[in-house]
């Protein structure tokens, strides 16, 4: 039983990793800084570790999907991230693909064992 749990954990990890980017992108039509995004995602039932999210934001910025800006007016400096124009395009396409995938997978799950 412990083995099954371990496998399940691993599989869940992979599943979450795959959906992480789309989840993050979806919340960046408004500028967010890293930790506000952590709380936001957690509040919506999509918990992400800060140690995973921060590097991801940077990577997405490097890929040009996000834009960033330092805000130094508040008590502590914060780096705000926002979807870039190309990021919005990519996100829309991702959503379409995702919906496709969900539909197809649902069909698969309904017909278990090919019945």
């Amino acid at each position: 039983m412990r083995d099954t749990n371990e496998h399940l954990d691993k599989l869940m990890q992979e599943l979450r990793r795959g959906t992480l980017t789309i989840g993050v992108l979806s919340q960046l039509y408004e500028p967010q800084y890293g930790y506000s995004l952590v709380s936001l995602l957690e509040g919506k039932g999509f918990p992400v570790e800060a140690g995973t999210l921060y590097p991801l934001l940077r990577r997405l910025e490097k890929q040009g999907l996000l834009e960033s800006q330092w805000d130094t007016n508040e008590t502590r400096p914060r780096k705000y991230y926002l979807l870039s124009e190309s990021g919005k395009l990519v996100f829309d396409q991702l959503v379409a693909e995702w919906e496709d995938m969900v539909g197809n997978l649902d069909n698969l799950l309904k017909s278990k064992g090919g019945l």
């Binding site: 800084y33 890293g34 930790y35 709380s39 570790e49 800060a50 140690g51 995973t52 921060y54 590097p55 991801l56 940077r58 990577r59 330092w70 502590r76 400096p77 914060r78 780096k79």
Partner: protein
């Protein structure tokens, strides 16, 4: 809090300098945000800080996530070859050094202590040298491979297609593993012998069945000079054998590389030969002194003319071997198609 700075430093230290400052600033902000959320309006204690840092995890792992990809001196694709060549290099170096130790104590039992000391010295310098050069060679192969891959990725939309697959090489076009390994061992033995046991290269003199001395072929004063070129020539030769083993087949590229290496070797050899003083100038006289030869006898004249023409013949032999090496490679590429 000092421990926060320590954490930030530990993470950013593992990142490229250009990103350090920005990531450090963001990390500090993150840690403060996490602390705020934990304590609300209360006081921040060390325990809180510790909890937060534990939640963020080991600095090394966090830095890895920031870096995204792993970097290697010798990557996983080359690693098996690397370990194998490393084993060969270390084993053959130790064997050569060990054998020359045994020979020296057989030849000259009274100075066993001295032989032992020089044996230890040879091991301590020779093994790291073998390790260092092997690693260096593989790091270069890895680096060259990386830049090649990067350039490929930069090409716009070039898709891989099955027609890119090279044909399975005809058995004649394959590099025999044993051949490459033998080559590597040969080069290592040569290097080790030249570097550590150069004093034994010569005519061995025995007196009543006991070893007396060596009449060296080489001029000891110019030892450093040719050892340098010998290292160069054999070192490149070793890289060539390693590449053969990694590619596993004869390709035009490999032949070209062989060509370049062999041209360098020939130039190195010319440098050695351009210095007539590398040979022991008193070789003939020493032979006569030792009583092995009588001056002006027939044998003396023969040996003398052989000795004087050695350079030329060695050069011709070496040139022939190097040209043959290239021609052979070329033929194998042809046949392998």
């Amino acid at each position: 809090m000092e421990i926060i700075e320590r954490y930030v430093y530990a993470v950013t230290q593992l990142l490229p300098p250009s990103q350090r400052e920005d990531i450090a600033k963001e990390l500090r902000g993150l840690i403060e945000d996490m602390l705020d959320e934990r304590v609300q309006d209360g006081e921040i204690t060390e325990k809180h800080v510790e909890e937060v840092l534990v939640e963020l995890g080991e600095p090394r792992k966090l830095a890895n996530k920031y870096r995204g990809m792993k970097r290697y001196l010798v990557g996983p694709e080359l690693f098996d070859h690397y370990v194998m060549v490393l084993k060969i290099a270390l084993i053959s170096t130790s064997v050569v050094i060990g054998v020359s130790f045994i020979i020296s104590i057989i030849l000259d039992p009274p100075s066993i202590l001295q032989s032992f000391i020089s044996f230890i010295i040879s091991l301590v310098t020779g093994l790291p040298m073998a390790f260092g050069w092997t690693t260096f060679a593989f790091a270069i192969i890895q680096f060259a491979g990386n830049t090649h891959l990067k350039r490929k990725e930069l090409q716009p939309k070039r898709r891989w297609s099955p027609s890119d697959l090279p044909p399975v090489p005809h058995p004649k076009g394959r590099v025999k593993r044993g051949e490459a390994i033998t080559g590597i061992i040969f080069y290592i033995i040569c290097i080790t012998v030249f570097v550590f046991s150069g004093d034994y290269l010569g005519v061995w003199l025995f007196d009543a069945g006991k070893f007396k001395e060596v009449i060296p072929f080489f001029n000891e004063e110019y030892y450093g000079y040719y050892v340098l070129f010998i290292l160069l020539i054999f070192g490149f030769g070793m890289i060539k054998e390693c590449l053969k083993m990694i590619y596993g087949r004869w390709t035009m590229k490999l032949v070209l590389f062989t060509l370049v290496v062999n041209i360098i070797s020939i130039i190195g050899l010319l440098f050695i030969i351009a210095e007539p003083n590398i040979w022991n100038p008193n070789f003939m006289a020493q032979l006569v002194d030792s009583g092995l030869l009588t001056a002006h006898s027939e044998t003396y004249t023969t040996i003398r003319s052989v000795w004087e023409q050695t350079t030329l013949w060695l050069l011709i032999l070496f040139l022939f071997a190097l040209v043959w090496d290239i021609a052979d490679g070329f033929i194998r590429v042809r046949k392998g198609r």
